[in-house]
């Protein structure tokens, strides 16, 4: 498979995939060279210990250049939430489509649109951030995404500017993406004192279609800026999804992340946050729902580089069928990061005998005056709670669904923006069969 990807890279010349400002192509080449040296992670790689990559590494993935038949707006309606005042950017099989997108009213200086378009117009602006946050030596998948970097969402919010409505990036794969790999690349930059909300959705229009999404999102949160970032991965349950969200936060900034993973046969999301300065707050919430043969893997890493920062993390999982989940939560506190306050919680609810979860906190603390706690639980539905609901007249199956939803709702409640929270709520209620 590695050979085929190298070959696909070499035959890009003259296609849109090789376009962009002068500085970018050497970066792509270096990334491809890096991937050529490392190849895919092996089965002994600690980072992939519980997540067999065979569905990706043993298959052959062709590149895809957009879409022949555009989906109708009505087909996308369930995925764009119907908020006409949001800015919604729709990418079909990796390519931006203006006709399916909607630009809401945006304050002056804000850029929201296609990364490919921005690269054509003014590549210099992007040079300061694009590929600067997500290192290609971090993972072979990041290297691969960088090598094929072409298109994705761009959001730039200038200093002291507040976005009135969320920006929604919707990545849709269609039947035509069967057997293809797509490398979405997003860049979100909030300058000093800016405020915004971003929603990233990964969806499939063809149920049962096997594709591979290899996404990277780079996020720069400037001094005093505030970002609420929601990631919704609900691709087909046969799809493969690898995603990295790489965040850098500056002084006094606030970053709140919510990651919902319910699609994909094999779905991995890495959320890495680096706290570059003092008085930073980072909130990371996650929910993964798996059933059948799905595998959902969440790796989070938070790097406390400087003193007086706070990070708070809650990831919850609900597993059914023969599904698997992996949670790895890394917290690194550098020697100078005194007064760090870091808390990590991972809770799992097993609905079936066949489901299994591997959860692991990974704390590397080199400062002494810190408060760092972690906890992980794996359990079943509370029998006393079930009896309580049934004793009020709610039948057993409904009571089970209600309590399962309650387990999820506790973390959904942490999403600050009401319209986003309402959508997540609806998605989870539907998935769990409560409505």
């Amino acid at each position: 498979m590695t050979e085929a990807l190298l070959q696909a890279f070499e035959t890009r010349s003259g296609t849109a995939t090789a376009e962009g400002p002068e500085w970018l192509e050497p970066v792509r080449r270096a990334a491809m060279a890096r991937f050529g040296r490392t190849g895919f992670p092996g089965s002994r790689d600690e980072d992939w210990r519980f997540t067999p990559l065979a569905p990706i590494t043993q298959a052959s993935w062709r590149p895809i250049d957009g879409v022949m038949t555009l989906p109708a707006a009505a087909q996308l309606a369930p995925f764009v939430f119907g908020h006409t005042d949001w800015t919604t950017l729709v990418f079909v099989n990796g390519i931006y489509h203006e006709a399916l997108s909607a630009l809401g009213p945006l304050p002056e200086g804000v850029q929201a649109g296609s990364l490919a378009e921005a690269l054509r117009v003014d590549g210099r602006l992007l040079q300061a951030h694009l590929t600067r946050h997500a290192p290609v030596d971090g993972s072979p998948f990041t290297a691969l995404n960088t090598a094929f970097l072409r298109e994705g969402g761009l959001l730039y919010v200038p200093a002291d500017t507040e976005l009135p409505q969320p920006v929604h990036l919707v990545f849709v794969t269609t039947q035509e993406a069967a057997g293809a790999v797509i490398h979405p690349r997003n860049l979100v930059v909030l300058e000093r004192g800016a405020r915004a909300a971003v929603v990233e959705s990964y969806v499939t229009l063809a149920p049962g279609s096997v594709s591979w999404t290899n996404a990277v999102t780079e996020v720069a949160v400037g001094a005093g800026a505030r970002l609420e970032h929601t990631r919704i991965q609900r691709e087909s349950e046969q799809a493969n999804h690898i995603g990295l969200t790489q965040v850098e936060q500056q002084r006094d900034s606030h970053y709140r992340s919510f990651s919902l993973a319910m699609g994909g046969a094999l779905a991995r999301h890495n959320l890495h946050v680096r706290l570059n300065d003092e008085n930073i707050e980072t909130l990371m919430y996650g929910l993964y729902l798996t059933r059948g043969e799905q595998l959902a893997d969440n790796h989070t890493a938070i790097y406390h580089d400087r003193p007086n920062c706070r990070s708070w993390e809650v990831y919850k999982g609900i597993l059914d069928g023969c599904s698997r989940a992996v949670f790895n939560g890394k917290v690194v506190v550098k020697p100078e990061a005194q007064k760090t306050d870091a808390k990590q919680t991972n809770r799992n609810l097993l609905l079936s005998d066949g489901s299994r979860v591997n959860t692991k906190p990974q704390l590397e603390i080199f400062a002494d005056d810190v408060r760092c706690t972690h906890g992980a639980t794996v359990g079943r539905l509370d029998e006393q709670g079930l009896f309580y609901a049934r004793s009020r007249g709610i039948p057993g199956p409904e009571a089970r669904r209600l309590l399962t939803y309650a387990f999820a709702a506790e973390v959904i409640e942490e999403v600050a923006l009401q319209p986003v929270r309402a959508e997540l709520d609806r998605l989870v209620l539907e998935r769990l069969g409560v409505i």
């Binding site: 029998e383 009896f387 309580y388 004793s391 009020r392 309650a406 709702a409």
Partner: protein
């Protein structure tokens, strides 16, 4: 309404109820008293269908049906209500959502139409008055972070909305201060009608000053050792359970 005959029940290998016989008619209030470990809470939970207990003998007939054959939800749908000694916290589900779900399930089981959230709110506002509460409590998660008193009050609110035919109050007085006790007891009293009945399970006589029983039964060692009128509760308060246990022991 309820006829219990020689009811026996175990938790694991331990027999807790060793032959309970008790008849409750519409319009009556029965108090079941007894020391810790006498089996009075077990009786309440067995009647509600708690899966942790196995019925090993006897019978319980409720409104002409074999109560012990019914699932817990079927008992609730048939109008039986247990106010829990330890109400369960359900973080993530609002009090309003939970109670409407329960209300509608009971209506469905009776072949009635479900009510929408607006109609339900109307009903709720009226019932909230019964426990002297404002509507704020309904947006909070079920019992989550509630004080002991709030949890008990919430049980009575549920009872007020679900309008059971037979209400069993399991140690509803425990953990209540005197003001909360009065509110809870007032609520229970105002819900009493000639066609429904109440079983008050309690360790102390205190609650019975407010909810006056027609009959008092004393449980000891899984059996009813004495039944009488409300004056029996006062006697127990004055003399303690040991007196009765000794008297029964001497008689036996």
């Amino acid at each position: 309404m309820l006829e219990i005959r020689e009811l026996r029940a175990s938790a694991g290998d331990t027999e807790i109820l060793k032959g309970i016989t008790l008849t409750v008619n519409p319009g009556e209030v029965h108090a079941v008293m007894g020391p810790n470990g006498s089996g009075k809470s077990t009786l309440a939970q067995v009647l509600a269908g708690h899966p942790a207990y196995a019925v090993t003998g006897g019978s319980a007939t409720y409104l002409g049906q074999d109560l012990l054959e019914l699932e817990p939800e079927e008992r609730a749908q048939a109008g039986l209500f247990l106010a829990f000694q330890y109400p369960v916290e359900i973080p993530g589900v609002s009090n309003a959502y939970f109670l409407r779900a329960a209300y509608n399930e009971i209506r469905k089981a009776r072949g009635e139409d479900e009510v929408d959230s607006i109609d339900f709110l109307e009903l709720l506002e009226e019932r909230l008055k019964l426990v002297d509460w404002g509507p704020e409590i309904m947006s909070r998660a079920v019992n989550s972070g509630f004080s002991g008193g709030e949890k008990k009050r919430n049980e009575i609110l549920q009872m007020a909305v679900l309008e059971p035919k037979l209400a069993i109050l399991d140690e509803t007085d425990s953990g209540l201060d005197i003001d909360a006790l009065r509110i809870v007891a007032d609520g229970v009293n105002r819900l009493q009608r000639p066609d429904n009945a109440t079983i008050v399970v309690t360790h102390y006589q205190r609650m019975l000053n407010y909810i006056v029983p027609d009959f008092v039964h004393v449980l000891s060692g899984g059996r009813i050792v004495r039944s009488g009128g409300k004056e029996l509760a006062l006697e127990l308060e004055a003399r303690g359970y040991e007196w009765l246990e000794e008297a029964v022991g001497a008689a036996g």
